[in-house]
């Protein structure tokens, strides 16, 4: 029997993978550098969402949803800790993604600078014309 929640979750995963394909199309086939940068940001953000989805866990019971990986008590007992580790989602993908978002922004900014300078010097952002430039 097909579980509706599992089906919707799988739709999310596979639509993210399709999104990766679309952004790869944008990176490889679109000639404009600006559109390549836009597709690259879509690729990065999709990869980040995919990483977060990988760290998600299913509901243990209908009224026990997963919780964020943040312990809300400063003087935990042993029961608090075991309850926390049995309910919290995987913190590792979130830790990787939070740095990846900021680094991605910095790299995007560098590519934007590169494109602006190319446009200022050569008057085009079309890679087919840039490839033929001499000197």
């Amino acid at each position: 029997m097909i579980d509706v929640n599992a089906f919707l979750f799988s739709v999310l995963v596979f639509s993210l993978i399709m999104n990766l394909g679309i952004s790869l199309y944008g990176i490889f086939w679109r000639p404009s550098l600006v559109k390549k940068i836009i597709a690259l940001t879509i690729l990065g953000d999709t990869a980040n969402v995919l990483a977060i989805v990988v760290g998600y866990r299913a509901w243990i019971a209908p009224n026990r949803p997963p919780i964020p990986p943040v312990l809300t008590t400063w003087k935990p007992t042993a029961t608090d800790l075991s309850k926390f580790s049995s309910l919290a989602v995987d913190p590792l993908p979130q830790a990787l993604v939070l740095t990846a978002v900021v680094i991605g922004l910095a790299v995007t900014v560098f590519l934007v600078f590169l494109t602006i300078q190319v446009y200022r010097l050569h008057g085009t952002t079309d890679v087919r014309k840039i490839a033929k430039l001499k000197g």
């Binding site: 097909i2 579980d3 599992a6 089906f7 979750f9 799988s10 739709v11 995963v13 596979f14 639509s15 399709m18 394909g21 679309i22 989805v53 760290g55 998600y56 866990r57 299913a58 243990i60 964020p68 990986p69 943040v70 312990l71 809300t72 008590t73 400063w74 003087k75 935990p76 042993a78 800790l81 926390f84 580790s85 919290a88 989602v89 995987d90 913190p91 590792l92 979130q94 830790a95 939070l98 740095t99 990846a100 978002v101 900021v102 680094i103 922004l105 910095a106 790299v107 900014v109 560098f110 934007v112 600078f113 590169l114 602006i116 300078q117 200022r120 010097l121």
Partner: protein, 276 residues
């Protein structure tokens, strides 16, 4: 014909997404997504991130994400910081020779948007800075940290540049040089914090590691885990503060350079590229 081809691709993608999802949720791989349990590694992180019963293993931060970013996988984050550093440096190298400065004898009130927008912006900038400081300084207790706080704080100079004009921002102290100093201070602080415990170990004659946070079995010294009863996460607080400075100042430099007027940039480029 071309149009029909595009629609065919679109429909094929949607149909294959739904078909694959149906296959997986019907048990095509032998299991259904999402998994009910996290992996053993994640279980270990969740178990030890703030655990007073295992003092040799804990990172003493109730927030597992910050604990992973700066303690369990601290070296990873150090290299990510260096990627960030290189990206900003590369942007600045591309824009070398272009100065961010206001012309002399300029009437600043003539530039920018209306008085209503400026007044609202003054209030909003204060709120943005307070929120970003809260995100960065409570990084070991609540979701947040240096990266998120720094990226939030960098919105404030961006808003000032857009609403008040670049010349106002430069004349009120948001300069490329001062931001570069702040950024260097932040990166220096990250370096000092990561070597602090090993230097203390050398002085006290005890074993210690680079990037050490809490005392370990073979290295019995570390940063204080609590101050006045509040979990401080040892090095995590310092890393968050310094990363906050580095990220906020780095993005401010980039925003300043991106908003230099086109004519002055072209003047520099044409002056530098002699055609002879």
């Amino acid at each position: 014909m071309r149009r029909a081809y595009k629609y065919a691709v679109l429909v094929a993608m949607i149909v294959s997404t739904l078909a694959l999802a149906l296959a997986v949720s019907a048990g095509g791989l032998g299991y259904a997504l999402p998994f009910p349990a996290v992996r053993n590694l994640a279980y270990w992180y969740l178990r030890t991130t703030y655990n007073p019963f295992m003092p040799k293993f804990t990172a003493s931060a109730p927030e597992a994400v910050t604990a992973i970013v700066w303690d369990y996988r601290g070296l990873d984050t150090l290299f990510e910081t260096s990627v960030f550093f290189l990206a900003i440096i590369a942007s600045m190298a591309l824009m070398r020779g272009i100065e961010v400065k206001a012309p002399k004898s300029i009437n600043l009130s003539k530039y920018g948007m209306s008085a209503i927008v400026k007044t609202v912006t003054k209030i909003t900038v204060a709120i943005i800075l307070a929120a970003s400081a809260s995100i960065a300084l409570h990084g070991q207790l609540t979701p947040g940290g240096g990266f998120q706080g720094g990226a939030t704080a960098a919105v404030a100079p961006l808003v000032i540049i857009v609403i008040f004009s670049l010349y106002f921002a430069v004349s009120s102290g948001i300069k490329k040089k001062s931001m570069l100093t702040l950024r260097t201070l932040g990166l220096l602080g990250i370096g000092v914090t990561s070597f602090a415990v090993i230097v203390a170990g050398l002085i006290l004659g005890k074993a210690a590691y680079v990037f050490q946070n809490q005392p370990k079995e073979a290295a019995p010294i570390g940063f204080p885990s609590h101050i006045l009863g509040v979990p401080m996460g040892g090095t995590l607080l310092f890393f968050n503060i310094f990363e906050f400075l580095a990220v906020a100042a780095g993005f401010t430099i980039v925003f300043l350079l991106l908003s230099v007027p086109e004519e002055s940039v072209r003047k520099v480029l044409e002056g530098g590229e002699g055609h002879d």
